[in-house]
């Protein structure tokens, strides 16, 4: 049985047996290349079908072209906008905002999630407040945030941090609660200290919760970003879409939507999925998520 050189193939890893549990750090670009090399048809075919249907619908001329444009037109707009440097700059702006907001949100969410999940008193105190604020959706914060911080990056960041944090906390608490009692008993009867139990039982045991929380949190954060950019943005993908609408430029609205979808797909395929594959899926804690 050959040892896998660089492909993170699941079957290969299992058969090889002697692969160390710590994965080799592959850069996103290499992962993208590997993804396309491994399953180009499986990855691209569903999108080809969607684009095909889209092309047919637009070619049939059911909707006037000022409302609904075909993939070719959208592609032209995209190329044009890339050539003028607008789209890359806007994508960079959006991603930077998301990265900053998500980094703070993940940091705060993970820390609070473990604190609330592990400490009875903190949980009792925080849980009602948590549920209360969970009900105030991201956009509901925009009016007050704009008053406080103006039309600034701070406002956008605050909203993203807020949206990322809450689902993450709730998901981590649920993940910690789902750790089987007997695993904690086993650790205790093997003489594990509190810190060892935290690092070697609670943290890995809560990873399914962390990973689903990160998914939900980033998904919400991404949407919140677009909403924030529409309302307070001066640049970014959300701003581009809303600006295009103002000028009656449907094809750029479509470009924005396509960009959102592609970016999220890439976030999943290049960051989230590989991490899950090496941890919670590898350990048999969760089935493969949607793949």
């Amino acid at each position: 049985m050959s040892v896998q050189a660089n492909s993170p193939s699941r079957a290969g890893r299992h058969a090889a047996g002697a692969t160390p549990p710590t994965p080799r750090r592959a850069s996103p670009a290499r992962r993208a290349a590997a993804l396309l090399r491994r399953q180009p048809i499986a990855t691209l075919l569903p999108f080809a079908v969607v684009i095909g249907v889209w092309a047919v619908v637009s070619a049939l001329g059911i909707f006037p072209s000022s409302f609904f444009v075909g993939p070719a037109t959208v592609f032209d707009s995209m190329v044009d906008s890339v050539r003028r440097g607008i789209l890359p700059a806007y994508i960079q702006d959006s991603l930077t905002r998301l990265a900053v907001g998500a980094a703070f949100g993940l940091g705060i969410g993970v820390a609070l999630g473990f604190l609330i999940g592990l400490n009875r008193y903190v949980r009792k105190f925080c849980w009602p407040v948590l549920l209360f604020f969970q009900a105030i959706g991201d956009i509901a914060w925009l009016p007050i945030v704009i008053i406080w911080f103006g039309f600034s990056l701070t406002s956008v960041t605050v909203v993203i941090v807020y949206t990322v944090t809450f689902p993450l906390i709730i998901s981590i608490v649920a993940g910690l609660d789902a750790i089987p009692t007997n695993l904690l008993r086993a650790a205790a009867s093997l003489g594990a200290s509190r810190w060892r139990t935290l690092w070697e039982v609670y943290v890995p045991g809560a990873l399914p919760g962390v990973s689903s929380g990160v998914r939900t949190g980033l998904g919400y954060g991404w949407r919140a970003l677009i909403a924030a950019e529409i309302i307070i943005g001066t640049s970014g993908v959300g701003f581009m879409m809303f600006d295009a609408r103002r000028q009656g430029d449907v094809s750029h609205v479509f470009v924005g939507m396509a960009v959102l979808g592609v970016l999220w797909y890439m976030t999943d395929a290049l960051v989230l999925a590989p991490l899950e594959k090496e941890t919670v899926e590898r350990w048999g804690l969760v089935e493969r998520i949607g793949r």
Binding site: A188, S193, R196, W283
Partner: protein, 265 residues
């Protein structure tokens, strides 16, 4: 020398919904001498697992004391290794890392840890599966790892809570013999909880029989079947057949009496 001494154990539960108090364990006392293999059996719901959980330190008793080598125990500790019915292996650790975990908590160095873990892996017959994760193993293999994890730290006593209840019947017979083979090599003191009369008689030096809830010790039988024992000649062994019949009658298996409720935690 007495390794474990359970003295006038008493356990009362208060139902969180009805507020009703239930006496799970009325009064249970027994001793386990060093090196002995003692089983606790009883009808389902009699609180035998609760007795084990109290000895392990997972559950606080309402009354009575548990002494290990003369000193009272409270809370779980590495002197009492536990083999769980659901294995309770850490899913995120390989077989080797699971087995070495107890050594790690004791501060044993990496090289020594690995050597000791390997010795245990070989002892329980998991050679070649060191780098597998628990979900990649069969139930029987997982429990081998569970036993190895406990034995690696050389506890004063090994507590086994229906350890073979989650594996299929054939594997169970094999594991019972395997555990006896390992036990005969190491002579660790064992407290073994089971609802399976055959298993109790086959494995043990002594069987402590608990009554239905609220439980008391109903009988304490010594089993004089020579070791090594094997299943192939057990059903023609007159001693095995005699004790088995006695226990069956005691537990009401013959008359079809069944108390029904699931055993308490």
């Amino acid at each position: 020398m007495t390794m474990l001494s359970v003295d006038q154990l008493n356990q009362v539960y208060v139902d969180t919904y009805t507020g009703e108090a239930t006496v799970a364990i009325e009064d249970v006392s027994f001793d386990v001498p060093e090196g002995q293999f003692v089983s606790v059996i009883g009808p389902s719901g009699c609180g035998k697992t609760t007795v084990l959980n109290i000895v392990a330190g997972f559950v606080d008793a309402t009354g009575g004391t548990v002494r290990l080598q003369g000193s009272p125990v409270s809370g779980p500790g590495p002197d009492r290794g536990v083999v769980f019915q659901d294995f309770a292996l850490f899913p995120w650790k390989t077989v080797e890392a699971n087995i070495a975990f107890g050594l790690k908590t004791q501060g044993v160095g990496k090289v020594e840890r690995r050597a000791k873990a390997q010795e245990m892996i070989d002892l329980v017959g998991l050679t070649g599966f060191e780098k597998k994760y628990p979900h990649e193993l069969s139930g029987g293999m997982r429990q081998r790892a569970g036993v190895a994890r406990v034995l690696a730290t050389e506890p004063a006593i090994m507590l086994m809570d229906e350890p073979f209840a989650s594996v299929d019947a054939q594997t169970r017979r094999v594991l019972q013999q395997e555990v006896l083979r390992i036990w005969e090599q190491r002579r660790t003191t064992v407290l073994f909880v089971t609802h399976d009369v055959d298993e109790a008689v086959f494995m043990s030096d002594r069987v402590v029989v608990l009554s239905p809830r609220p439980s008391t010790v109903r009988a304490d039988l010594s089993i004089q079947i020579p070791r090594p024992r094997s299943w192939t000649d057990m059903h023609t062994n007159t001693e095995f057949v005699r004790i088995r019949r006695e226990l069956m009658t005691m537990l009401g298996v013959e008359t079809g009496v069944e108390t029904g409720s699931r055993s308490a935690p």
